[in-house]
């Protein structure tokens, strides 16, 4: 045993903001590393919306007419309409991927090392959430670059204005994923999330078709779309991309972010939550 490590002693300086920032950076860094190491994840995250854009949107542009609706001040091509929905879809899948990753971490034991960190558990979960959101935002901008090459050109400042909306919607969907991960016992159960969360949220929203069109077809589905928080994430992004704020969407997404985050923190609380009862 070498003598390179000092003797371990009692006196530890209190944790400061710097320590918290180091912890945050470490968790974001690990999430980014995992993302980089899992190249297939990045490619599939990019290919999925591009398939919708190149194939689905190309097919539907002749069928679906999009009249002038806010925030657009003119008729737009279906590809243009569907782009914010696909941006939100990237974040939805990323949120669920994070959920999957947390279940995997729990099964593999990595989650334990996170939860035995001396920082408060709410802070650790927020760091995870921010890390997941950062990864999703990077994916969205990669998609926007390809979409721009495809001829979808929102206002230049829209690329900047959409960033806060992406962060907020990323947080909401990440928090939802985190909440779901606390309820999923095993990786095998994750298929249920695909069937019962991702697909209904995506299809019963304004991502693929304007709500007025849905209302004409089915008032029931329209009502479901209006109750779906994902609809508001899509609209928040859509308006921000065109330099406008949809206040209702902002309020709903902010409220749902808070609700899902508090739910996830409670679920991971050892005294109260599901994880506390079952173990990390």
């Amino acid at each position: 045993m070498s003598a390179t490590i000092p003797r371990h002693d009692d006196h530890l300086p209190p944790l400061t903001v710097t320590h918290y920032l180091i912890c945050l950076r470490g968790i974001v860094w690990r999430e980014a590393l995992r993302f980089v190491h899992q190249r297939e994840r990045f490619i599939s995250a990019l290919v999925r919306p591009l398939v919708w854009l190149f194939i689905f949107a190309a097919g539907f542009r002749q069928i679906l007419g999009v009249s002038i609706i806010p925030p657009y001040d003119t008729y737009v091509l279906y590809e243009v309409y569907v782009t914010p929905g696909l941006m939100a879809m990237i974040q939805l899948f990323n949120g669920m991927q994070s959920s999957l990753s947390m279940v995997y971490d729990r099964e593999m034991g990595n989650m334990r090392m996170l939860l035995v960190s001396p920082f408060p558990r709410w802070f650790l979960l927020l760091c995870k959430l921010l890390a997941s959101t950062a990864v999703s935002v990077l994916q969205v901008y990669a998609y926007l670059l390809v979409a721009w090459l495809w001829g979808i050109e929102p206002p230049a400042w829209g690329y900047v204005a959409v960033l806060p909306a992406l962060i907020l919607s990323g947080l909401m969907l990440g928090a939802l994923g985190m909440l779901l991960s606390s309820a999923i016992r095993q990786l095998e159960n994750f298929a249920g999330v695909m069937n019962f969360v991702i697909f209904p949220m995506f299809f019963a929203s304004s991502a693929l078709y304007p709500l007025w069109l849905v209302q004409q077809s089915s008032p029931v589905v329209y009502a479901i779309c209006r109750l779906n928080p994902f609809t508001y994430a899509v609209e928040l992004i859509r308006f921000a991309l065109y330099l406008e704020v949809d206040w209702l969407s902002l309020a709903v997404v902010a409220g749902m972010t808070a609700l899902f985050t508090v739910g996830a923190i409670l679920a991971y609380d050892p005294a109260r939550g599901l994880i506390g009862r079952r173990g990390g």
Binding site: G26, S117, P118
Partner: protein, 251 residues
């Protein structure tokens, strides 16, 4: 914090999973600077106790103090002073050895050059410096365990708790790890709680606590436990206390 404060003081701890009681009124003290063995058959409640010590589970009944800090009230202070090695592997297999260590350092608020230096030191200490760029996936079971112990030391805890760290390892890896952890006690004054069901990991000068069906049935120095059971050695004492017999998990 004075030297009189034990590394770990568990008082009257009970824990149940629904109606099934895993721990009953457990009292356990890990003295400072000692190697304490928590000995018990599989299913005795060792892992549950570790989950409570590390606050993965909330304490339902009783109290747990790590170096004087109550885990339920001051979890941050307690966890900063505690190094933990879980029975299940907890390395991120997709990250390199160095990345695993730096991530753990960050989880303790240690970053930058300090973290890198500490990581290099503990890796050198566990003869893993040449494996720092390898992904954890490429390591053998024994090497993974050494990385996990090195990782548990990166924030320089005064108390190290290891839950069945030698499970699944060959004899050579097992004895090497045991020797190194005992070295931490002798050379650096680290207090160690070593959970196992393997009697050959107990030495005469160790402190020992025997956990059986969720209860501590004997605790103290090995000689005291042997004397209290009026047996000749720790193996006989353990069998007398637990009814463990050849063919059970005791080896």
């Amino acid at each position: 914090m004075t030297i009189d404060v034990p590394a770990l003081a568990v008082r009257g701890v009970s824990h149940a999973y629904g109606t099934r009681k895993a721990l009953r009124d457990v009292d356990l003290t890990v003295p400072r600077g000692r190697f304490t063995v928590l000995l018990g058959l599989n299913g005795a409640g060792k892992t549950t106790l570790f989950s409570l010590i590390t606050r993965l589970f909330d304490t339902q009944q009783g109290s747990i103090d790590v170096l004087g800090f109550r885990i339920s009230q001051h979890p941050g202070q307690a966890l900063r002073r505690l190094g933990i090695v879980f029975q299940a592997r907890t390395l991120d297999l997709d990250l390199s050895v160095m990345e695993n260590l730096l991530y753990h350092a960050a989880l303790h608020g240690i970053g930058g050059r300090d973290a890198r230096q500490r990581a290099q030191d503990v890796l050198a200490d566990f003869e893993l410096a040449d494996r720092r760029r390898d992904t954890a996936r490429k390591l053998s079971g024994g090497q993974m365990r050494r990385v996990e112990i090195a990782r548990a030391l990166i924030h320089r805890p005064q108390f190290l708790a290891l839950d069945e760290p030698t499970v699944g390892l060959d004899v050579v890896s097992k004895s090497a790890i045991l020797r190194r952890v005992r070295g931490l006690v002798q050379e650096r004054g680290v207090s160690v709680l070593w959970s196992t069901h393997l009697l050959d990991e107990v030495q005469p000068d160790d402190a020992v606590a025997v956990l059986h069906r969720g209860q501590v049935v004997a605790a103290g120095d090995v000689a005291d436990v042997v004397a209290a059971t009026r047996t000749g050695d720790m193996r006989a004492a353990f069998i007398a206390l637990t009814g463990g017999a050849p063919g059970s998990d005791v080896e």
